[in-house]
């Protein structure tokens, strides 16, 4: 049960160190690295609050062990807009975050970081989604506040903003 050495990249930065095998990726990100944007709701894969990107794919951080990211790359919500800090300006946010701000796509914000990571991968694969496809894409996330309509609107707006950025 000894600690295992790992070498990984988190939001673009190299990290090496040793972790206990049973340490969940979600607890490693929050507890060891202080990346508390990754939220923990259910710890059995259902709520989506802990969703991060593993080599570009959205995954549940509560269903992986930190040892498993050895040699792989993780992106968390903190990596979306590196400029964010205390003097945060809306313009510095990632286009997906701006879209959620504009369309009121969150209330308490507990579910938001996980949804943003899912949406980032989803819009890469499907840059012009229909409303139905958006609803399907966020079906793996529970939100207790918004009633989802504004989240769907936010994803549609994010798709627009991202296409503008590219154009």
């Amino acid at each position: 049960m000894s600690d295992v050495s790992i070498r990984t990249r988190i939001n673009g930065e190299e990290w090496t160190g040793a972790v206990e095998p049973r340490l969940l990726l979600s607890d490693f990100l929050r507890g060891n690295l202080g990346l508390t944007g990754t939220h923990v709701g259910c710890e059995h894969g259902v709520c989506g609050a802990c969703t991060v990107r593993f080599d570009g794919d959205p995954v549940r951080a509560c269903l992986m062990f930190a040892v498993q990211i050895d040699g792989h790359e993780i992106e968390t919500v903190e990596g979306l807009s590196p400029a964010a800090g205390t003097d945060l300006r809306i313009a510095d946010l990632h286009p997906i975050q701006r879209a959620f701000h504009e369309t009121h796509g969150l209330q308490c914000g507990f579910c938001t970081p996980g949804i943003l990571m899912t949406v980032a991968s989803f819009l890469e694969r499907n840059p012009k989604p229909s409303d139905r496809e958006i609803r399907e894409a966020i079906s793996g996330h529970l939100c207790r506040c918004t009633g989802y309509h504004n989240i769907v609107a936010a994803v549609a707006r994010a798709a627009e903003l991202l296409t503008e950025v590219e154009a």
Binding site: P21, E43, R60
Partner: protein
């Protein structure tokens, strides 16, 4: 909650993984996508002494065509490849059609084909889908005691794999390594439907079918499998047999659906009573048989 302590090994080839499992003497468990195992560990339902992580065993992560027009799927192929791989779409369209119903994208990105088959949840889609396609599983273990050679392999039909809910014929030192699916034949069509609360939730009831029509329009072969309508994924054999040698008219199809609904043995839970599940088996079987018939007709030459 958090998992109890365990030893962790991450072998990079199958033989090392098999010896690590064997060395565990029943106390070691394979870790595939972790999408069913890690929730159980988090709840402290069973605590293996050792986890043998299969994620670095690259030789188990493949999707390959066979010469007979079918497919071989490695146990560590992710569920999301069924959705996105063009080869799967062409050679096993049933799997591509059903893939978006297997959990959510964030689960399919990690969850594996072998893990879903080995977990044996009666509400899981993959066992039933592969059963209806007539897939064969391959299983391997390290040689025991006086056995010669490093590795002992066996084949198993999917039906022989399932003994009860969450209970398979796999032994503690065995790894399911791959499944092989025969190619779609001339005049053959498949279809799938499921009812779930939301896309990605486990099926309340699901049905997958395969039918083959001859040039004369008669049904030469049929298979119907039911999801969450019994303790294990199962074939509705009498219902399928009722179609053989018949022209699959709407009446013949309705009759087969009726037989499936009468002979299945679903359980009741918060999502539906036994009567409601039987009703769903009838309605969904009818619907997918009609759809598969249409697809089969397009493939008759």
């Amino acid at each position: 909650m958090k998992p109890a302590r365990f030893d962790y090994v991450a072998p990079t080839n199958l033989d090392d993984a098999l010896s690590a499992l064997a060395a565990g003497g029943g106390e070691a468990r394979a870790l595939a996508g972790g999408q069913s195992l890690v929730p159980m560990l988090n709840f402290r339902l069973g605590g293996p002494a050792t986890l043998v992580d299969l994620n670095a065993v690259d030789e188990l992560a493949f999707v390959e065509p066979t010469e007979e027009g079918g497919l071989r799927l490695g146990a560590m192929a992710r569920q999301q490849t069924l959705e996105h791989d063009p080869l799967v779409r062409i050679r096993a369209p049933l799997l591509a059609e059903a893939a978006p119903w297997i959990a959510h994208a964030q689960i399919r990105s990690r969850g594996t084909i072998g893990g879903s088959l080995a977990h044996a949840d009666p509400a899981a889609e993959l066992p039933a889908l592969l059963m209806v396609l007539g897939a064969q599983a391959r299983v391997a273990r390290a040689a025991r005691g006086s056995e010669s050679g490093a590795r002992i392999e066996r084949a198993s039909s999917l039906c022989d794999l399932y003994l009860g809910p969450f209970f398979t014929s796999l032994e503690a030192d065995e790894i399911l390594t791959e499944v092989e699916i025969p190619g779609l034949r001339v005049g053959e069509g498949t279809a799938f439907a499921e009812l779930a609360r939301r896309r990605g939730d486990y099926a309340i009831v699901g049905v997958a079918v395969r039918v083959r029509l001859g040039a004369d329009g008669l049904c030469e072969d049929a298979a119907i499998s039911l999801i969450n309508a019994g303790p294990t994924p199962c074939l509705a054999e009498d219902a399928a047999a009722a179609l053989l040698g018949e022209v699959p008219t709407p009446a013949a199809i309705a009759n087969a659906a009726e037989i499936a609904s009468l002979q299945c043995s679903p359980a009741a839970d918060m999502h539906g009573s036994v009567a409601y599940r039987r009703h769903l088996v009838r309605v969904l079987t009818n619907r997918v048989l009609l759809r598969a018939r249409g697809r089969a007709r397009e493939r008759v030459v």
